[in-house]
Amino acid sequence: MSLRLGTTGLVYVALAAILAAGAALAAARGQDLFTTANTVDLLTRSSLLGFVAIGQTLVILCRSLDLSVGYVMALSSVVAATAMAGQTSRIWLGVAAVVVVAGLIGLANGLIVTRLGVNAFITTLGMGLIIKGYLDTRYKGPAGEVPAEFQLFGYTRIGVVPLSFAVMAAVAVLAVVFLRRTRTGVHMYAVGGDAEVARMSGVRADRPLLAAHVLCSVTAGLAGLLIASRFGTGSTLVYSSGYELESIAAVVLGGTYLLGGRGGVGGTVAGVLILATLDTVFNVLGVDPFFKDVLRGAIVIAAVALYARRQVDRAATPPRFPAPSRVPLLRPPRPPEAAARRGGRP
């Protein structure tokens, strides 16, 4: 527990550091990072990626992966907009249709992974291609229409906090409670940590994995709803924005172990905020958009390399046997150099 808090704590420290550095850089150029417009921009960016990354966290915790989320988002935005057809009375129909369609896609992903034994990378890559083929063939451009009331979801603000960000935060809290307090949530960690040990302990390894895939697709569907409400119509081209890889980057940046079993949604939200902060800072500083890609790639690699050091270190000291002289809860995060020295290659 304390170790998990340690990693999540580190991510939030990194977020604070990046915010401070960004603010300092902006101030050096005579600009303010924390204007209302910039803050709203930052939070709006995070809400969209946040939905996707929360679902992706659940799947990755189970030692799986979902590369179809970008396509599910695009499909969901189209489903929502066509089901609503511009009428206020049909908003709930649109939302329900998205949840059902996205849930079924997640169920299909999960069943292919668990029942047919196809690994998740191939399953979700293939599923993404299938959805892409359907979207490109069926729709030549934007489709459907979202009523003005539903567009409020994308544009309403409470102070500087966009409604979409508040909803995303609520979903994140639900996900944290789900992972800590429900049987399926706890089993996700067990299955992700070691499916065989989980099975021998009486956990049906398939069920948490199925649940994770369904929930991941549904959160991607929520992101699709947000897109529909922002654009006012269903947009098929969202899938080319690379959300699947960006969400994985956010999850890993948030300290969740890519091979499953460790991490959590709290860290992921911080990871999403870090990526959004970088984007906003680059915008404020007027950094070349192509240079942004270079920086972002380098930062993600550097951050994960840093966590990898900590994980090597952690593997050396199992949490059940803390060092006798220390109280685990008060143990400060170890500096990365020390971790590097202790956790060399075997």
Binding site: L116, G133, E196, D293
Partner: protein, 352 residues
């Protein structure tokens, strides 16, 4: 084979083994699929069976074959390389900008591209092995860096032009044979790359690479330097991606989109060949067969006049079905990987 086997039983056993190899979801299955797809193509369009059409097909498939061989090296060692598509794009754009239509620049630029490719592979490999970043993240980061860096350097749109000498590899003929016609350089190069990879996989290095992919801990206890073996695989993948870039640049020319999505096509090809993500299983020939099968499927779609937009959907269905089929056969035959969750050292989900 026991003493009770009569010669007839031996022969039927051999037949059964051959049947199992073809239908078993391993390397043989992909060739069965390839033959099937070609049979359908020939039935639809008998003219396709002539050597010029087949050689044109082989020329078109050559870059994917080369990429699949590179991706195979990385996958069999238990990793993934997502950066090859963006490396192909970067190399083509770099070549066009530096050569800028001047013939004497061709050779120096080719050497520079090789060095750049090797450097990219070295970084991928060292970040994965020494810094312990999962290869999917390391190569994803490299993909973003290359994508951004090349566009930053060229200001968004590719500039310059390739020289004629550069384009020979992609579109020229190596020899003109009687009855068959011109054999494209691309086919010769892809065949050479494949043969070199087969030889490599039979060398001590290749054996070690497979062992590392199967169980890195055991390989390291047996004295293999896991980090060096894997890093070299990444270098091989990037160098082969450079070769593919030369072929693609010569064949298709320079655009901003060149290389996009090639990493997933290469992974599809390798996996279709029965090579298991997670490492340790599969052969180079099967990966090459996978690449040919992917290209043959695209050709079939064209022959069937399927709208090009539906092709990804069919590709997605086929890759899932192929891997599900292979997984079913593998779990049925191998006691090491029971259907429920797999052995402790390699569960199906670990193979991501």
């Amino acid at each position: 084979m026991t003493a009770t086997d009569t010669p007839a039983a031996g022969a039927s056993g051999a037949l059964r083994r051959a049947g199992a190899a073809l239908a078993g979801g391993g390397g043989g299955t992909v060739f069965a699929l390839l033959v099937l797809v070609f049979a359908v193509i020939f039935a639809i369009n008998p003219g396709f069976a002539r050597p010029p059409s087949l050689l044109a097909f082989a020329q078109q498939a050559a870059p994917l074959v080369v990429l699949a061989v590179g991706q195979y090296l990385v996958i069999v060692s238990g990793e993934l390389d997502l950066s090859v598509g963006s490396l192909v794009g970067a190399q083509v754009v770099v070549a066009a900008r530096l050569i800028d239509g001047q013939e004497p620049m061709t050779l120096p630029v080719l050497l520079l591209m090789l060095a750049f490719g090797a450097a990219v592979g070295l970084v991928n490999g060292l970040v994965t092995t020494v810094l312990k970043v999962p290869s999917i993240i390391a190569t994803l980061g490299m993909m973003l860096v290359l994508y951004g860096a090349v566009r930053l350097w060229t200001g968004g749109a590719p500039t310059g032009a390739l020289s004629e000498a550069f384009r020979v590899a992609g579109r020229g003929d190596a020899v003109v044979l009687p009855f068959i016609g011109g054999v494209p350089w691309a086919v010769v190069i892809a065949a050479a790359a494949g043969a070199a990879a087969v030889a490599l996989m039979r060398s001590p290095y290749g054996r070690t690479l497979t062992a590392v992919g199967d169980n890195a801990t055991a390989a390291s206890f047996s004295g293999a330097r896991v980090w060096r073996v894997r890093t070299l695989a990444f270098v091989g993948s990037s160098v082969l991606a450079t070769l593919a870039a030369v072929l693609i640049g010569g064949f298709a020319g320079v655009t901003a989109q060149v290389g996009e999505g090639l990493e997933f096509s290469a992974i599809t090809a390798v996996v279709l060949g029965g090579v298991v993500l997670g490492g340790g299983r599969g052969t180079v020939l099967a990966a090459i067969g996978g690449a040919l099968a992917v290209e043959a499927l695209f050709t079939l779609f064209n022959q069937l006049y399927l709208p090009s937009t539906i092709q990804p959907a069919v590709q997605g269905l086929i890759i899932i079905a192929a891997v599900a089929y292979a997984a079913r056969e593998r779990s049925r035959r191998s006691p090491r990987a029971p259907a429920a969750a797999g052995g402790p050292e390699k569960s199906p989900r670990e193979e991501v």
